[in-house]
């Protein structure tokens, strides 16, 4: 039984965008039988939230070298390249 993976979802203000991305991500992965935990934060908070996180998904640029894989994408808002990003996320989680 693999450990449940944790994804940190970041956006500019953590008011709405990261929540929409996190929900969409959870649903899509659950449909594929992948159970993940998501957390949300502002881009400026990522460094302080990184502990225990397996992957960061962000809609806004982040400071470099966080020690975990980072995927920058608007696909969960615009639909463009969504399938490719999901593949990338699954690979990054090493599932």
């Amino acid at each position: 039984m693999p450990m449940r993976k944790t994804i940190l979802v970041a956006c500019g203000t953590a008011v709405a965008t990261s929540t929409v991305v996190a929900k969409s991500l959870e649903e899509i992965l659950r449909d594929r039988g992948i159970d993940v935990v998501t957390r949300q934060c502002k881009a400026s908070e990522v460094a302080s939230m990184i502990s225990g996180v397996d992957l960061v998904v962000t809609t806004t640029p982040l400071p470099g070298n966080l020690g975990v894989p980072v995927i920058q994408t608007l696909a969960f808002l615009t639909g463009i390249g969504k399938e490719a990003v999901i593949t990338q996320i699954i690979q990054a989680l090493k599932l």
């Binding site: 008011v15 929409v20 608007l74 639909g79």
Partner: protein, 155 residues
């Protein structure tokens, strides 16, 4: 939930002739202020936020969109303003701010609690992913046409 549950009819500007993104944000913010949805600090806060954390979203069709918003303390109650622009104005790309995105569809979101009105953005995202809704929206001339643009039963 439907986007019409959030859209403030008096805060819609159709074929609006804006010369830049600031003018669009200021206009829609003013309409939301006049309708009692946001505080007078909203426009300045949204402009400041847009300059630091831009919201331009390149879409798959000819029309790109932007979704300016700001921190909750500038908002009185949740609502949504919308503009279709007669000519595109430049927003910067949310995920790569150095990239300019010519946008013709702008949704200004007034969100009064973090994570509380995510349905509003979910509805917007659904529209952004549906080129036929955007096409109808861009040609809408009044609120009734905006309203019917959002229904999915057109072919």
């Amino acid at each position: 939930m439907n986007i019409l549950d959030f859209l403030v009819p008096s805060s819609i500007a159709l074929h609006y002739p804006a010369s830049d993104s600031k003018e669009v944000i200021a206009h829609l913010g003013k309409l939301l202020f006049d309708a009692g949805y946001v505080r007078e600090t909203f426009v300045e806060a949204a402009l400041d936020r847009e300059s630091r954390l831009p919201t331009g979203l390149p879409l798959s069709g000819d029309v790109n969109a932007a979704i300016p918003h700001t921190e909750v303390e500038h908002v009185i109650k949740p609502g949504l303003a919308m503009a279709t622009l007669s000519t595109p104005v430049t927003f910067q790309n949310m995920v790569s701010p150095e990239e300019a995105v010519p946008c013709q569809l702008v949704f200004v979101m007034a969100l009064d609690q973090p994570k509380a009105q995510i349905e509003m953005l979910q509805e917007i995202a659904g529209i952004l992913q549906n080129p036929s809704i955007i096409e109808r929206l861009m040609s809408a001339n009044d609120f009734e046409e905006v309203r019917t643009s959002f229904s999915n039963d057109h072919s």
